[in-house]
């Protein structure tokens, strides 16, 4: 029998490369559809029926949002409407947002959309990051709603949503960092919408990003 070397055969490598490329392409297409399913926004009915979604319905602004370590998943996860004994969201505890906890899906969606448009119009990402995207000059805002600083300020303003809105309307007056945020001329309505967007965003399950949020001194709670 003739002695052959498959390793130095072009055909072998060509067939292998074709196979690997083909399988990888199919895998990537399937994973794309999986990602799309994972990123599909939940509905108000999901919140009512206690169905976990990575991106909850905009009506999540009616609920209390917390960020707790999940031992099972090994990182912090958003807890919506209180936490049960297993460390999962209960979707029960409501929290007033600008005096109301009964925003309809339509109202909440409109508010969050206005918040998104304001964030884009004011170019927040020139300095900040949202969900990790943007510039690294100012803090990441993914979980800004959960920054303990606002809890400290809340009593003086009648709630943390009012404190954040007041800050947004005139940041230099409430400067809490050496890199002072400029006054961007955000109106009262725009500020309310931005706060709604921030609250909604803090309820998005980001697989623990940013890690240890609220625990690292200096990163948050700059006033302390």
């Amino acid at each position: 029998m003739e002695k052959v070397s498959v390793w130095s055969s072009n055909r072998f490598w060509r067939r292998s490369a074709t196979w690997v490329t083909g399988v990888s392409a199919v895998l990537l297409i399937l994973l794309t559809f999986d990602s799309m399913a994972q990123m599909k926004m939940g509905t108000a009915a999901d919140l009512k029926n206690k169905v976990d979604k990575r991106i909850p319905s905009p009506t999540v602004i009616n609920y209390k949002i917390d960020y707790q370590l999940s031992r099972a998943r090994g990182h912090e996860v958003p807890i919506i409407g209180g936490m049960d004994a297993n460390g999962k969201s209960k979707y029960e505890v409501k929290e007033k947002f600008f005096g109301r906890d009964n925003y309809s899906e339509e109202e909440a969606r409109t508010l969050i959309h206005k918040g998104k448009l304001t964030i884009q119009a004011k170019n927040c990402m020139d300095c900040h990051t949202f969900l990790g995207n943007g510039a690294y000059y100012a803090p990441d805002l993914t979980k800004a709603w959960l920054d303990p600083t606002w809890e400290t300020l809340a009593p003086a303003y009648g709630g943390k949503e009012y404190a954040i809105a007041a800050f947004l309307q005139n940041p230099p007056a409430m400067a809490m960092h050496e890199r002072k945020m400029p006054n961007l001329g955000i109106t009262k309505d725009e500020a309310k919408a931005v706060v709604a967007y921030l609250k909604f965003m803090s309820a998005i399950d980001t697989n623990g990003f940013p890690r240890n949020f609220g625990k690292i001194k200096g990163a948050v709670n700059a006033w302390k």
């Binding site: 029998m1 003739e2 052959v4 498959v6 055969s9 072009n10 055909r11 072998f12 067939r15 292998s16 196979w19 690997v20 399988v23 990888s24 895998l27 399937l30 994973l31 999986d34 399913a37 994972q38 976990d52 979604k53 990575r54 099972a72 998943r73 996860v77 399950d205």
Partner: protein, 55 residues
């Protein structure tokens, strides 16, 4: 228990598969490397038979 319950937010085929590095590794090797082993022996057989003209 060998197979852990899915811990992901939204459980899918992929999140069940990706329990840890090992499950994903075994799957990808089954999908990609094992057929390559078959391709290797298939090519070897053809070459030994002289089915393939020299390039």
């Amino acid at each position: 228990m060998c197979i852990e319950p899915c811990r992901d937010v939204v459980c899918t085929f992929w999140s069940i598969l990706n329990q840890g590095p090992m499950t994903l590794t075994i799957t990808l090797h089954t999908l990609i490397v094992l057929p390559m082993v078959w391709i290797y022996f298939d090519e070897k057989k053809k070459m030994e038979r002289g089915d393939i003209p020299t390039e």
